[in-house]
Every structure is written in C-alpha cells, then in structure tokens.
Point group: C2
Chain length 385, copies 2
C-alpha cells in the first residue's frame, strides 16, 4: 500500500441547536402534527422484520386501501412525493413509450421531466398556471397525439392551488384508449379531497405522508391497478429501490424489501386512526369549508385567487401578491412577528404569489389567525384592497 | 362521462393498536434511540424551505462531513441503505460500464444486483460468507478483469458480521486503475468503525440513519469525491429522485430538491451532538470493545462466530446456531420471555445463524443481558457448548 497524505477533517464549527419554534405552519406540507401523533414519535424503535412492526404495517396498509378506495395493495417507500412520481413511471413503462403528461403547474412539469429523464417519449399538454386541465382540450389533444401508452395527471397542483377533475379526465382517456395507463399524482389531495381509485379506473395513485395524513415527511404510499400490475410485468425501465414486484412480495408478510421508516409508520398509524374517528366524508367537508373560507376571506380583503374558481383547491390556496407589496418581506414579517408560516411561489411565480396550506390537521381558529394577520400585515404594507 | 359501477371499499376491520414494547433491540438496525433523541421527535414540524430548518440541515451536513472525513458535501435523501446503493450507481455510471462488485454477503450481492438491473456489465468477485475480501485475490482478479470503470465494496457486511479492509482494498484498486470509481457501502459501519473517505481516496461513501447514528430509519447520507463528481457529469444512467447535481445545487441554500424527512433531521441533529460529546475515537473504541466482548462471550459458551477472526465486525456479530437447536424458537423465546430482539440469518444462512447488533446507542449492561440470556436459553434448549 502506498503511503497517502493524511487529510484530516476537523470537527466543524457550527451554530448551536436552538429550540424549534411553535408556529402556525401553513405551507402545503410539512403540516402540523396533532399531539397524539407527536406522542407516537417517542415510542421506542422496533425490529422491522418482527411481529410487532408487521402488525402496524398490516393495519396501516389496510387502512390506506380505504382512503385510496382501492382493493389493490398499497405499497410504501421511504421517499418523498417526487419519489412517487419516479416510482410510478419506472414500474409502468419501457424506454421510448409514449406518454402524455397533462400539466397545470410545477409538479405536473416535474412528472413530465422525470418521464423524459427516463427516456420516455413525452407529449406535454400544458395549461396556464391557475387553470385546470380543460377536458375538451385534453380530449382533442389526446386524439391528435394517439397512440399513447400512458397519461400522467396531477390531481391537486400544489404550486397553483388547482384541483383537476380527475374523474372526468380519466373517463375520457379511457374512452379514447381503454388500455391507457393512467398515473395520478395525488400527493397533496389524497385523504383530503375525494378520489376513488378503483371506481374511477385509475391505474396508479400515490401520495406522501406529510400532506393530508397528519404525519411527518418520509413515507410515500402508492397503489397500482390490476392493469398496472400487468404492465409492470413487461415494463423495462431499470428499477430496484422503487420496484413494485419485490415490495408486493414482501408485503405478503407485512414487510418491505428495504428498511422502512419505522417512526413514520407510528405516526401514520395514529394519524389514520384519528382520520377514521373524524370520518372520511367529514374530513372532505372540513377541507371544502377551509378552501371556501380562505378564498372568501382573500376576496373580501381584495386579493386575487390564482385558481380558476371552478377548480380551486381545497388543500392549498395561491393568492396573487398585490401590486407594490414585497411578498418576501410580507412572509418574513408573518413568520417572525406572528409565527405564521406561508409559502412563496415556485418557478415563474416566485415573488408573485403566496400560498396557504389548509390540509391535514388544522382548526378554524388556525385559519382565522392566518387571514386576520395577513390582512393586518398587508394593510401595514400599504395595501388597501 | 360514462356512468361507472361504483366500487366501494369499506373501512377495514383491523386489530387495534397495542403499546410498543420496551425491548433490548439488538438487530443491526433499527437501533434503540437515546431518550434525548426520542424527545426531539415530539418537536413540531417546520417548513423545509424556511430558515429554521436550513440551520438544521447546515449543522447536520457539516457534522456528517466530519464523520465521513470528507471535504465533499454530504447529500441526504429520504431512503434506506438500499437507496444509497442505487444512488451511488445511477450517478456514477452509464449503461454497459464495467464494474467489479466485490461481495462477501447478502448486501454485497444486492449492490451487484442493482448494478445489473441498471444495465451495467458486472463482474462479481465473491468470497465465502464469513470471509472478508482477500486483498491478494482481489488484486489478481482485478488485473484479470481489467479494464473496469468502477469497483463496488462493502465496508461492513451486515449479513455475515464481517468488515472488509477498505483502506487496503481501495489502495490496490487505485494502483491498478488510478481513475477507477470506488463506491463503498458503509451503511452499517460509518460512525462506528474507522473510515476516512478522503484520506483513503474513496469516491462514494453512503450510510443510513438507523445504523450508527442514533436515529430512526428514513434518511440516507451519501458523499462523492471530486473524481466522482467529474464522472457524474457524463454518467448516463437515468435518474431524478437520487440525482446528485440537483441535490448539490439545493444544498447551497441548505435545502433538498424534494421534501426531506424533517423529523429524522431532528434526531440526527441531536444524535450527532451526542456522538461528538462522546468523541469519535471513543465511539470507535466502544464498538471495538463491544465486538470483542460479544465474540469472547460467544466462544466461552461454545458458539462459533461466523466471521473470520481477523475481520470480525465490531457492529454486528453472526453466531452459528448450534446443532440441534431450533434458531427460530430460540429467537422467539428471547423476544417473548426476555424482551431481547436478535436477527436471524439471510438467504442461505436463514435458520443457520443468528445475528446480534451492537452499534449506535448501547451500554455494556445491554450487551451483558443479551449474552446472559442467550446462554440461559441455549442451555434450556439442550446446548452444553
């Protein structure tokens, strides 16, 4: 062995830890966690191959099926929502497959971008940010662009606060191509906004733990229809970590092929128990009322909602920044003075909108505080509506 | 829209939640968490794009660099250790690239399997389970199999309890091919067993939060050398979720491209603070003593350690099941009667070995209890050593 120069890396000088502030966290995920859920995080670790953890995986998996409204197994991966997009694509398709990506914002674009990165032939059907996918336009463009193997649809576009009518879109895709593989990004909608995977004949649906599930980020949940499982057998895109077949096999004994994020299973287990106690339809109604409330208050104070009113999201609202107001300074003031955390805009909407998350665990009082303080701070910034 | 048959999925009947038992959890990850770390898990969520979380990412990232002993940025992903293997491969190589996979067990085989799944030309250098990679054999076989673009090495093979001499192996790879990309799976070693990424001229090193880091599973940490970053520019394997370049770019503002597992950052922040307080060399010494202790006790009670003594791991020990003892029944009794959780064997060693994890957070009393009860239960099972 050659003698090498020793490169010693010293202990870095860092800022000390400071307490995590208590905030009214209203970005579109991570979302605040109920105390009952936070409490589960201090439970001790378990062997991910043992019977105690298997019981949790079983309960969580079966209950996820209810929220997905699917009889197919719901698979889970340590990943973000973006991991869900990649997981859907690599399990369904082969290089060169033609997919139509219906995109209405940043996350729809990301879905298309991943498909391109994996060598698919991607046709983008883009709609202006703030608009939903227009079924008539989609129908015409799909016919023009046939044949296609798959269609990528965003249920709820987190970057614009718009919810697509997935049921209608899926039905018209199916009319044009009964064998099309319909992959739905339901990251920021599932559990909050109605979606019925089997009844709507969707082929892949995925979501993330940090959105409507009262859990921290770290777990991605995905289900595939029998048609998608059939496609999976011949899909040639390379995959291993996100492979469905190995996950399904391990799920027979309520395990995962790799080590799952044990603590996120604890939170999801408790989170879904609370969700079931509230009732799925009641949760949908709570989100519907929240969406209406935020939009009404925004309009009443003279703000313009980015979303087409017919398709405005009930989990996240994007509000246009008024002329002359510095949105970065506004968000900073809300965070520092009022402990309210909102999100800015993404891509070309950076600095032009701010977004309010109203999904998962929230009360009317939380939303009241957001809108009251927003009104106050906008007023201070000279905005008179 | 066509009227579709409504497929209603009812709320599933499930077993109710039961308390998570307090156990002496001695699998090779997940590992028990110190109370200080568990406490951080009840901290409220933060905006992953806000300044409070950026401060955590910065501190964690810099400190990881110290434990990796690298000046390169340490990237993090919501993933398991298997995700680390995939992340290393897709960022370094192009289809058809020749890589030599040195494998001494199940996880080495997995690394090779992922390389094959991604269309690399893989030469496996396999060593018998329980043995380390023999530098002389590796040298000869590498010369026979040149040219090669990369070499995959397991630092600590979790399935057999064997630690490769990565420093020596890397040096001889470098002698044969100065431009070879050396990717090291340090999932169950980093932070516990000495590894110096820059000084040993390793190109990729990755680990997982649930091993030596006093954290739950869910976060994979990976670093790449300047040589690896150069290779990354021309590496053509498809990737998006695990892409380094986008992660590095976002790390400039102490963020991740996708939503990171916020709660695991809390634990890692506290876990590393505790690790630094103990001192890196003191941690290594604690693991060295633990390895010696487990092996000495095993031998004293007449058990055979699978690992070649010269390369026996200081984080996980694989003990041969004695003739006539039902290892499944033994592990069950230990778990149910003594609340001690050990792991079985993997692949062809299933039922033939049991494995004891001694990494991360443990005390001598924890190890004493494991070995005392193991001795007792083996005696009850008729084993007289």
């Amino acid at each position: 062995m050659t003698v090498q120069e020793k490169k010693v890396i010293a202990v870095p000088q860092v800022e000390p830890r400071t307490p995590i502030p208590i905030q009214n966290l209203r970005v579109a995920g991570p979302t605040p966690l109920p105390p009952e859920v936070l409490r589960t995080q201090s439970f001790p670790m378990l062997n991910h191959r043992g019977p105690e953890f298997a019981a949790i995986v079983k309960r969580v998996t079966l209950r996820l099926g209810y929220f997905f409204q699917t009889a197919s197994p719901v698979l889970t991966y340590a990943a973000s929502g973006t991991g869900g997009q990649e997981c859907a694509l690599v399990n369904l398709f082969s290089p060169g497959d033609h997919v139509v990506a219906i995109t209405i914002g940043s996350f729809g674009n990301r879905f298309a971008k991943i498909a391109t990165a994996y060598g698919l032939h991607v046709t983008r059907l883009e709609f202006p940010w703030g608009k939903a996918a227009d079924p008539k336009v989609v129908e015409a463009r799909l016919k023009e662009n046939a044949p296609f193997r798959g269609v990528l649809i965003t249920h709820n576009e987190t970057s614009t606060g718009v919810t697509n009518d997935v049921q209608t879109l899926a039905a018209l895709v199916r009319d044009i191509n009964p064998e099309a593989l319909i992959a739905v990004d339901a990251v920021s909608s599932l559990g909050c906004i109605p979606l019925e995977m089997d009844a709507w004949d969707l082929d892949v649906v995925f979501t993330g733990s940090q959105k409507g599930w009262m859990s921290p980020p770290g777990l991605m949940m995905i289900a595939a229809s029998p048609r998608a499982w059939e496609a999976n057998k011949t899909a040639k895109l390379p995959r291993f970590y996100f492979d469905w077949a190995s996950s399904r096999k391990k799920l027979e004994v309520w395990q995962q092929p790799a080590t799952p994020p044990v603590s996120i299973f604890y939170t999801l287990d408790m989170g879904m128990e609370m969700m079931l106690a509230e009732g799925r339809e009641a949760i949908f109604e709570r989100h519907r009322q929240a969406g209406n409330y935020i939009r009404q208050r925004a309009k009443a104070m003279g703000l313009h909602v980015l979303a087409d009113p017919e398709y405005a999201s009930n989990t996240v609202s994007a509000l246009m920044k008024p002329e002359g107001v510095d949105s970065k300074a506004l968000l900073k003031k809300l965070r520092e003075q009022d402990h309210i955390v909102l999100a800015g805009g993404q891509d070309h909407l950076e600095g032009k909108i701010f977004r309010i998350g109203h999904l998962g665990f929230f009360s009317q009082a939380d939303l009241d505080q957001v809108m009251d303080k927003l009104e106050l701070r906008l007023h201070e910034a000279g905005f008179r509506g």
